[in-house]
């Protein structure tokens, strides 16, 4: 039985990689992937604590999170396609026409 702290460390590492990706990259596809990483870090936490307490509610909840992630990707890809069509690129810093 792996102690729960290791799972937490793993989740923190994954979350930080995702955050780093969002803060440093300009490619919208990489944004989506980074968000996926952060969501999955949360999933790891849910499953780890679920196992630790012997309660399946957390695991059930992580299933919902995956469904949500799928939906989010569907919408996100749509937005990225429109972005590409308008700017011929998927660089998120280009789309600032609508700000003040």
């Amino acid at each position: 039985m792996v102690p729960v702290q290791w799972y937490l460390l793993l989740a923190t590492a994954v979350f930080c990689i995702g955050l780093f990706g969002i803060l440093t990259r300009r490619n919208a596809l990489l944004f989506l992937m980074s968000v996926e990483l952060m969501l999955n870090a949360a999933n790891i936490n849910l499953v780890a604590f679920s196992a630790y307490w012997g309660n399946v509610t957390g695991q059930t909840f992580s299933l919902f999170t995956m469904a949500l992630a799928a939906a989010e990707v569907a919408v996100g890809i749509g937005i990225i396609l429109v972005l590409y069509r308008n700017f011929n690129d998927v660089d998120v810093t280009l789309a600032k026409e609508m700000r003040w």
């Binding site: 955050l19 803060l23 440093t24 944004f31 810093t93």
Partner: protein
């Protein structure tokens, strides 16, 4: 009663004719005239039915429609309703009769003369009639105000009927603006009545004249905004009087009326006899129970009326156009009505309102007939000798003139005499102010007799003074028939109220109008007003003697005026004697320079004040608002820079926020201790 169920149709029928003429007048024969005639005839029949029902002792005072219901305690409910009492029933009959005759006359004056734009004309007439009828039956002050304004609007539309010429649109604007100036005070007065009494009903349980009376007796309390009730009621009364002075063309707001002669002559007849101008006096009569409580307001009404009667009569003496003379006579006659109302002669003033409606409609229609004959030349100095060439017009016009001058036994004699008589006895009874009004009224009688017969002699007698007058254009039945109807009325309608005969010969029971106005709702009867009025009566050597002296003096003066006109103008080739008046003639011909004075007032007093207000508004009021908004604008222009539009920045800020929160929670929660 069945008649009352159909009463709203009296108002709605002419309104329907307005809609029909407006929407489909150009597809109808005669531009929609027949629709108007049918509608006003229907109104007349229904009015007669209502009149007979009211004569049977029935009174109707109901709210028909609530368009704004007050919520909670002490709020006001705004309604439409009908009040059909003897006064309203009488007025309905007059208005619908005159409107019908004017519609018929218009066939001759407008259709036969080949005017264009007739659907617009008949639509205007229909709406005008409907507005006035709605005003007459209104059961509360606000409804009356709304129809009062509609009447003003219609007068604007009709006076400016020939809008392609230069004069009519300008006259229409003037009429609209001058009466609106008075109506502004009226509106404030309506609001004041609501604020004071919480209701504006004329009659019935909790009507505002009743509440005012109770407040003066101490029987109940009303909001008087810190004034004594008497003072406050006088203020409210005078505010409403502003509207009356504007509409009934009393000094100093009479200037619109002579200019309103620019409109078609049948419209002038309608305005002067039954609708627009009558509305003001009718309003005072309608809420007489309220005015009777305020001696000051009554005194002002009497003085304004007396002064207007005299001033307008003098101006009428020197005019050249037939319609101008009639216009000043209208102002003068409404002055008499106001004098009568102010002097406590409620019945007398109402009587004069009625007789005047008939003889003034007659005179205007007669003038219209003359104008048709003269190919629309209105200058009396181009007329003359029309007597033989248009006998029907001459004899009916003569009947109207005798009535206007107040010659026995024509209608005007009885009513004008009663107005003056009431003023005299109440003046002798301890109100010297009324004696001043009486004196002005008496002098005006002389002038009235003079200018009336100057007009008659110049128009109909002597030798023709122009080619057109030698061979005038003929008029048809549609002109003659209304003239004959009104001519008979002008000659005979005085019999409804022969008070002098009653008093002198001791025949009781022939003061029918007194009995009529004494019926109906208790608080709206003539004897109730008599109880409330602050006047007492005194006589010169007994009542009978006073009646005889009063009648003899006013008749004598009228005959003297007419006689002077006969001497000066009833000759084959009359000349302008008015030149002998010298400077006074110029003064009268220019209407005491009232127009110039008012223009000066507007240009040199109101305009600088308005400029000052504009500067204040632009500089101070707008300055403050602009200052406040510029602070927001500046702050926004700086703060918006944090919205970079780059999603990475937002994410960084989110993360920083999260970290900051974690640190705060950590420190507060003692994780690092």
């Amino acid at each position: 009663m069945a008649a009352f169920d159909y009463a709203p149709a009296i108002v709605l029928l002419p309104f329907l004719s307005f809609l029909v003429s407006l929407g489909g007048g150009k597809y109808l024969p005669k531009g929609g005239a027949f629709g108007g005639i049918a509608a006003t005839a229907g109104s007349l029949l229904l009015s007669a039915w209502v009149f007979l029902t009211v004569a049977g002792g029935e009174v109707y005072n109901e709210t028909l429609y609530t368009w704004a219901a007050g919520v909670g305690e002490g709020t006001t409910t705004l309604t439409f309703g009908l009040l059909l009492d003897p006064l309203a029933a009488m007025m309905l009959l007059i208005v619908s009769l005159v409107a019908l005759l004017v519609h018929v006359f218009s066939l001759g004056y407008m259709n036969d003369e080949g005017e264009t734009g007739l659907p617009r004309y008949y639509a205007g007439l229909g709406l005008f009639t409907a507005s006035m009828l709605g005003f007459v039956v209104a059961d509360n002050l606000l409804m009356a105000f709304m129809f009062f304004e509609l009447v003003g609007l219609c007068s604007y539309l009709l006076i400016g009927f020939w809008f392609r010429q230069e004069g009519p649109p300008s006259a229409a604007k003037k009429a609209f603006l001058v009466t609106r100036f008075g109506d502004y005070f009226f509106l404030v007065g309506v609001v004041a009545v609501f604020a004071t009494f919480g209701t504006a009903k004329f009659a019935g349980e909790g009507a505002f004249p009743v509440l005012a009376e109770e407040a003066l007796n101490g029987a109940s309390e009303v909001t008087t905004f810190g004034f004594a009730p008497e003072t406050w009621f006088t203020i409210v009364g005078l505010l409403i009087l502003g509207g009356v002075i504007g509409k009934s063309a009393q000094f100093p707001l009479h200037t619109w009326l002579p200019d309103a002669m620019e409109g078609p002559t049948p419209v002038s007849a309608l305005i002067h006899a039954a609708t627009m101008v009558a509305a003001g006096v009718y309003l005072v009569a309608r809420m007489y129970g309220f005015y009777a409580l305020s001696p000051t307001a009554l005194g002002i009404i009497a003085l304004v009326g007396g002064f207007t009667a005299l001033a307008a009569a003098t101006m009428g003496v020197v005019k050249r156009e037939i319609k101008q003379v009639l216009a000043y006579s209208t102002i003068s006659q409404y002055g008499y009505m106001m004098l009568g109302l102010g002097a406590g002669g409620y019945v007398a003033a109402t009587f004069h309102l009625m007789t005047h409606a008939f003889f003034k409609a007659l005179l205007f229609l007669g003038a219209g007939s003359v104008i048709i004959a003269m190919h629309h030349d209105e200058d009396m100095w181009n007329m003359g000798g029309l007597k033989e060439r248009m006998p029907v017009t001459y004899y009916t016009f003569l009947a109207g003139s005798l009535a206007l001058a107040g010659i026995f036994p024509f209608a005007g004699f009885w009513s004008k005499d009663e107005v003056l008589y009431e003023t005299l006895i109440h003046g002798l009874g301890g109100s010297p102010l009324l004696l001043a009004g009486y004196a002005m009224g008496l002098v005006a009688v002389f002038f009235t007799g003079f200018y009336t017969f100057r007009m008659v002699f110049l128009t109909f007698h002597g030798e023709p003074r122009s080619e057109i007058a030698r061979d005038p254009h003929g008029v048809r039945w549609n002109v003659k028939a209304p003239l004959v109807v009104l001519g008979i009325l002008a000659a005979t309608v005085g019999v409804v109220n022969m008070v002098p005969v009653e008093k002198l010969l001791g025949i009781s029971g022939i003061d029918f109008l007194h009995q009529w106005l004494d019926g109906g709702l208790e608080a709206l009867t003539a004897h109730h007003y008599g109880d409330v009025l602050p006047y007492s009566s005194a006589y010169v050597g007994g009542e009978t003697t006073t009646v005889a002296i009063g009648a003899a003096v006013s008749l004598g003066l009228a005959v003297a005026g007419a006689g002077l006109a006969h001497v000066l103008y009833n000759v084959d080739d009359p000349t302008e004697h008015t030149a002998k008046l010298g400077a006074i003639k110029t003064l009268w011909y220019n209407n005491y320079y009232q127009d110039e004075y008012q223009v000066w007032l507007a240009n040199s007093v109101v305009l600088p004040l308005a400029r000052l207000a504009d500067t204040f508004d632009q500089g101070v009021v707008d300055g403050v608002v602009n200052g406040v908004s510029s602070v927001s604008l500046f702050a926004g222009s700086r703060i918006r820079r944090i919205q970079t539009g780059v999603v990475t920045n937002y994410a960084a800020l989110l993360t920083l926020g999260l970290v900051a929160l974690l640190v705060v929670f950590g420190v507060m929660g003692g994780w690092f201790a």
